[in-house]
């Protein structure tokens, strides 16, 4: 036993030909965030604090699809969302439709702790942010040149895509098909998330995102939905990533814990089982159990991820086989 942590920067069709100038900053980002999380766990911070801290770092990193670097809606704007959950108490908080809040995950935590509600969205969430005095920025702060390009490509293809770039395809739902590369081989970026457990079995999970490239204004994905993108109870903590609509209908995050509880599967078996139920190319997740197990599973080409545990194990990966055993 002992502490364990896993974090992700999104699952999707990450091309193996991803050029170093795009791969290295993301790897460095994963490494940095993992270090932040490990330091916090070593300092005996509660997993709820740890996941918030790590997701804040991921949000601030411009190469991941959350906070700064969020993908754009069809109107060229940013609408961010996030959720956070504490395993022992099952208290949770969520926000959607943020356009000026620098760290959505922290606002989600404030909703959980400072309001009688669980979930605030859009103008109400922005108003709450101002009341709470959280850090805000002009909407332009969150927009990066890469995302302007992604939006343009998606609009030209007249498609909504899981925040990654692909050559123009005619089948709007066939996101995982072909796996072809575009000339400049841009990377796949996605939702971010973190799960952690301490030596006492306290679990927590948090997820944050800008959503889908070219999404309709007002579109909510799985990341702020408890049970879909985020879940934690006394058994495990899960943060999922991929095509939101598939994760919502599959109640992916919740199902990992349910399958462990009701079918007696281990964390890794449960994670594999659940991801297997989602159509290929659509989902990934990171999870930790109360006993310090780690699972990172995806049915996409890759998933930006990093994990570590108290026994000295540590890993940072993008590809490798879909079932990732320690």
């Amino acid at each position: 036993m002992g502490w364990a942590i896993a974090l992700h920067g999104g699952a999707g069709d990450i091309p193996r030909s991803l050029p170093p100038e795009l791969r290295l900053p993301r790897e460095a980002g994963l490494r940095h965030c993992l270090d932040v999380g490990i330091a916090a766990l070593k300092a005996h911070k509660h997993p709820l604090d740890v996941v918030e801290l790590v997701v804040r770092e991921l949000e601030n990193h411009p190469h991941f699809n959350a906070g700064k670097g969020s993908v754009l809606t069809c109107s060229g704007t940013v609408e961010m969302e996030a959720s956070i959950m504490d395993g022992k108490s099952k208290r949770c908080g969520a926000v959607s439709g943020l356009s000026t809040v620098v760290n959505a995950v922290s606002l989600a935590r404030l909703v959980m702790e400072k309001t009688p509600h669980i979930y605030l969205g859009f103008h109400g969430a922005e108003a709450f942010a101002r009341e709470q005095g959280v850090e805000t920025a002009d909407p332009s702060y969150f927009i990066t040149p890469e995302n302007i390009v992604r939006l343009k490509q998606a609009q030209e293809a007249n498609r909504v895509q899981i925040d990654y770039t692909q050559p123009i395809q005619k089948e709007p739902n066939d996101a995982a098909a072909a796996g072809a590369r575009i000339p400049n081989g841009d990377s796949q970026i996605g939702t971010v998330g973190c799960v952690a457990v301490d030596g006492e079995g306290n679990l927590a999970s948090a997820t944050s995102t800008g959503g889908l490239v070219n999404k309709m204004a007002g579109r909510i994905g799985d990341s702020p939905i408890i049970g879909a993108g985020t879940y934690a109870n006394h058994i495990c903590a899960v943060s999922a990533t991929g095509k939101g609509e598939a994760m919502i209908r599959g109640t992916v995050a919740r199902d990992v814990a349910a399958v462990m509880e009701f079918k007696g599967l281990s964390l890794k078996e449960a994670a594999a089982y659940v991801i297997d139920q989602v159509p290929p190319g659509n989902a990934g997740l990171v999870a930790v159990s109360s006993t310090g197990e780690i699972a990172t599973v995806y049915n996409t080409a890759g998933m930006f991820r990093a994990s570590a545990s108290e026994d000295g194990y540590s890993e940072i990966s993008i590809w490798d086989s879909p079932i990732n055993f320690m």
């Binding site: 969430a125 408890i226 079918k263």
Partner: protein, 326 residues
């Protein structure tokens, strides 16, 4: 076994002092909605069409807390939300933050059928509504005198008015005792009937299940607050095995992903519908108060609640029909 089945609810948690006339009024509405659903089932409409039809009825009638008759936000306005789910392929649609859409459940259906997404909210949802040409009205249309009065009470008590009531006293002489010890809900003395969330679950002759839930949410809620009703897995869920709609304490329903839980214990523990409903009500709510209606693909219907009463009605093809409050 087999055959169609239908259940409707107008909310869990009823004031034991609710005047007889109001109880009768509620039962008449539930009966009317059941009859509409039964008629549709006999005409071979599919489960998904029937749940939408019935919830539209409940939204249109000002008696319960959805559509017209919705609870009011802290600003005295109405923000409605709803979700709908079709069991066979687990397609789903949800909306939040609606202020001019006459029938939120129908917009949720359009999100499911006509958009690339599963969930749209606030301005984006309203824009989508305009594009789809659904019936739009002024926000005033949804506001009733009763609710204006309730909001005033809630503000005076300076707390959130939940959409149900539970007594803090035992079963003897509940009426008299209530006079001496006013019923409390979150510190607010209750003496007025409060409106409730609505929902409908259906299994049609082909064994297809569907579920839908609609609400105006909590009286005096913060603007932007999203509850359990539009969250797939919490307020609404349907799959091959069953259809579920929940009502009651939003936080409790979200933390326990209550609707998904019913299906999960059926799927993973092999429980029958009634057992599953009993199990989740007994074991998954902790301190929370909620009610559930559910149907199974075998034509069974079940209701369960740990509140004082739940406005509900159910019917099955073999002639069984029941409408109840307690």
């Amino acid at each position: 076994m087999g055959g169609w089945g239908i259940a409707v609810h107008g909310g869990a948690g009823v004031d034991p002092n609710l005047p007889k006339e109001r109880q009768e009024e509620a039962k008449r509405l539930l009966t009317r909605c059941l009859d509409i659903g039964i008629s549709a089932l006999r005409s071979n409409l599919s489960a998904i069409d029937v749940v939408e039809l019935v919830v539209r009825q409940l939204e249109t009638d000002p008696l319960f807390n959805s559509g017209r008759g919705s609870a009011l936000t802290e600003n005295g306005t109405v923000e409605m939300e709803a979700s709908i789910m079709d069991g066979p392929k687990r397609r789903c649609g949800a909306v939040s933050g609606l202020s001019t859409v006459k029938n939120p459940v129908s917009l949720a259906r359009l999100v499911m059928d006509k958009s690339p997404h599963s969930y749209l909210a606030f301005l984006g949802a309203e824009e989508f509504a305009k594009k789809q040409g659904v019936e739009l009205v002024d926000n005033e249309y949804f506001i009733t005198e009763d609710n204006v009065g309730m909001l005033k009470l809630a503000k005076e008590a300076n707390s959130i008015l939940f959409d149900y009531r539970i007594p803090t006293i035992g079963t003897c002489g509940a009426g008299a005792a209530a006079m001496d010890n006013p019923l409390q809900m979150n510190g607010l003395p209750i003496s007025v009937y409060a409106p409730e969330t609505v929902g409908c679950v259906v299994v049609d002759k082909e064994g297809r299940c569907a579920a839908a839930t609609s609400t105006g949410g909590l009286m005096n809620k913060m603007t932007g607050r999203i509850g359990d009703s539009p969250l797939i897995g919490s307020g609404t869920y349907a799959c091959e095995l069953c259809g579920v709609s929940c009502t009651g304490e939003g936080e409790a329903i979200i933390r326990s992903t209550l609707a998904r839980e019913v299906a999960a214990v059926m799927e993973y523990k092999g429980l029958r519908l009634h057992e599953a409903v009993d199990f989740v009500i007994k074991n998954r709510l902790d301190e929370g108060k909620a009610g559930v209606i559910a149907v199974s693909k075998n034509g069974e219907v079940a209701c369960g609640f740990n509140t004082t009463g739940m406005f509900r009605g159910c019917a099955t093809e073999d002639g069984f029909m029941e409408v109840g409050v307690w």
